[in-house]
Symmetry: C3
Subunit: 349 residues, 3 copies
């Protein structure tokens, strides 16, 4: 399953979602991103700091340490590091050590902290996809932050999963409304330089209980446009818009925003956010979205972890076979491989 060959299974010149904003406080928040241990915290002024999570003195994990003022103090021998990663105190001697913690560029946007894992000088906020366009951090939208999960599977399995939504008819058969139809709806592929969108269109869909739940006042049939849009290796949007069939007027948009952050070569952090531009204050819709996420995610986790167990084992497996519905996932694999190769080539120069 490509791209998964070591030593570099992921692109590094990339913003990745490291945490929800609310997870980063004045206490240390430890995580692992692209195989690197990291601690996140806020300074007294409230800005987010991301530093290497290993003290270079004796490799003590800093998530077992503490914040003192704006510095991190190692819990083993008390070395202190400032928000840039510079050592400012070694308790057993008068002067600090030249030791430094690697420091990571971060942006806080759309209710999340985004971490840059490439060379710091290349960290450009413009390389983060337009979160506002999806409804994150935007007036007129209601957003739910679903609980984070950590899947024991390579991140590319999650990309594969999201870009072939025909799985909804089987894996989520009893969970997603009208799931049985998804696999058979034709889709078109809309490719731009940045993104790849698999769009399914349905016209003149008769009213059904799920649409009624979302738009109780609406009468008559609806048209639906449903996307699976790859924005970058870190971000996929699924979801779409319902229209009144008669007038062609949009009724509303519901997006599922999937942030995908590799933890190690064979595990991935998975954050789901839902964003809608209708009935934004209605707690019933919020509850519905969270409940749907709660039901769907364990099913995807089961599939991805079961496949990872196969890929990680030394046991034999058949040669992979693809079909037309995989066109999006396969183009994404090629883009991802090209991105990884381009980075490797640029580093080799």
């Amino acid at each position: 399953m490509t791209p998964s060959a070591e030593p570099q299974p992921y692109p590094r010149r990339q913003w990745w979602m490291a945490a929800y904003s609310h997870e980063v406080t004045r206490a240390l928040f430890g995580t692992t991103v692209l195989g690197e241990k990291i601690v996140l915290y806020r300074t007294e002024a409230g800005s987010v700091v991301a530093l290497s999570g290993l003290c270079p003195h004796r490799m003590f994990p800093l998530d077992l340490s503490r914040v003192v003022g704006d510095t991190v103090q190692c819990g083993y021998h008390g070395f202190r590091f400032d928000p840039t990663g510079r050592c400012v105190e070694v308790p057993s001697q008068p002067e600090p050590s030249p030791a430094v913690l690697k420091s990571y560029p971060v942006i806080e946007q759309g209710g999340a902290v985004w971490l840059w894992t490439g060379e710091p000088e290349l960290a450009d906020p413009k390389r983060l996809p337009d979160l506002g366009a999806m409804g994150l951090g935007q007036a007129g939208w209601g957003v739910e932050h679903h609980p984070r999960s950590l899947l024991k599977g390579r991140y590319t399995l999650l990309i594969d999963n999201l870009l072939d939504l025909s799985h909804a008819s089987f894996l989520h058969e009893h969970t997603i409304p009208k799931a049985e139809a998804v696999a058979r709806v034709p889709h078109e592929l809309i490719a731009t330089e940045q993104s790849l969108n698999l769009r399914r269109l349905g016209c003149g869909i008769p009213p059904n209980p799920f649409f009624k739940l979302l738009f109780p006042a609406h009468e008559g049939s609806v048209d639906q446009s449903f996307d699976a849009e790859y924005l970058c290796p870190a971000l996929i949007r699924t979801g779409g818009t319902l229209y009144d069939s008669a007038s062609g007027q949009p009724l509303g948009t519901l997006n599922f925003i999937h942030a995908i952050t590799p933890e190690t070569p064979t595990s991935v952090h998975y954050f789901v956010m839902t964003a809608r531009n209708f009935r934004t204050d209605d707690p019933a819709i919020t509850a519905l979205n969270l409940k749907m996420g709660q039901a769907i995610q364990p099913q995807d986790t089961l599939a991805i972890e079961a496949i990872e167990a196969v890929l990680s084992s030394a046991l034999p497996r058949p040669v992979e076979v693809s079909v037309k519905a995989d066109v999006g996932a396969i183009q994404v694999r090629r883009r991802l491989e090209a991105q990884i190769r381009a980075e490797a080539a640029s580093l080799a120069r």
Copy 2:
């Protein structure tokens, strides 16, 4: 401990017990045999199907899937495969895919499903040892199916165990009736082209409580013939016959049939069946046999798993020393190695 060197620690041109007949139903039964994931099920007509347990589309394990009519439908994207393994449906497109699932020859005999892991064209039911001769699926015999177990140890440790029954005096000291005597009873080795039998003979054994349990009406001493018979890597029979010492007439035979099916290079499925040709309808004897199995098996499991832990570790261990009682086990190792080498040679041609 030979033969255990990778890449091929087991012969493949072999029938192996995959499941008890009662385990295979209209639902999918997943197992792993010789390192290959397999699903078993019955068609509407009741015949047993054995197919590869991995969907070649995205490696989803088919034991998490379902039977539809006579086909298997993958639980991820709904690909369907017929009992020969041919893909008959891809839901997202009109035509099926050329993908196939590997299909395994099976026979159902003696209350069990036997799977052929070699080239299908070589699958010959005659290569399965004569189960009826042991009492399986035979009129006039009573049979117990002991619960299956999965041991974390290479299958050759189980063969070693069964072919040196002197261990009964120590490992099963308090479990097997008159166990303390076993190690000291002399045995003879009866070799045929197919099998190797280590036979222990006891003459004029005075009545004891265990014999009384089996044959309450019998008076006087008995002669006993007790075998440990290797029939093939998949099957060992232990047990034997009691005779009236005075007349030489057989009182009855009790066999322990051990089906040994490698799961992976370091784990093994273990099925025990008991078969007897006396008091076949007596539930007290059935209960006695099951209870004895329930007590003995955990002791063998403990020994085999403890030894596997030693063999699998990187830690140093002494050079193996053998004694006369190992003659059967060592001849079996040689036959097994010869069988594996012959297969490799024939595949290389």
Copy 3:
């Protein structure tokens, strides 16, 4: 982190603490030392025997076996071995086998059993540091045997830990009395051919509740000498002596004796004993010492296991940085490496 490179991460010509004396009885006591499985037991006459813990017949672990008279009887097929490791019985045949169990030189001293892992002919009791000088097995001293623990970390991490006591101010901040001061007390390094001692001296320390607990009758300030003394890879002493500041007379000595026994390349047995030459019969001091150990050990275990997890993982880590306080630990690493290299060179000759 040196020295940790395989294949030989530890010196073998060394006495290591295998067990407390009270742990070795007429039953088999199994342990693993330097990667070798070992069983310990006492003969009828009470002397300690240490033999390889694997039966060379079929690698059955002898800690699952039993003592018969002065011999070990394997729990699988009943092979018996005398205290020198010679096979004296094979139950299935009249004569014993030439199989032998490796036998280890042992000494029982200071309430513990010490095992020699090098060539037996080099086992010299004089190479065991002077336990009496530390208060073990000595009249006029009270000793506590803290519960043994097994840390999932390479033994050198425990040596590093004990030789940089500045960690007390952070890792044991709320546990060790006056911990906050430790990191800032200057120390001197006293090196002899055998040992390396990092001594911290404090003069004119005003009375505090902890000193009052130990020496309730004493008035006025005290001087303190506190050591972290490396005696050999198997033994480190921390602790020291309090003096009356006015007269310079010693009030008493309290030693923490740390026995460090590698189990495998990445795990270590850890035994702590406290020894004092004042109020030796006072159960309140005994309780205090045990309680302090009970609080401190889990903190050190946490640090060592967290660092081992980093070192054992394939994930990237920063280059190690050392400071002045590491001078002792670094000299010990050099001695240890030199010891290992000298052994390898002598074996290669």
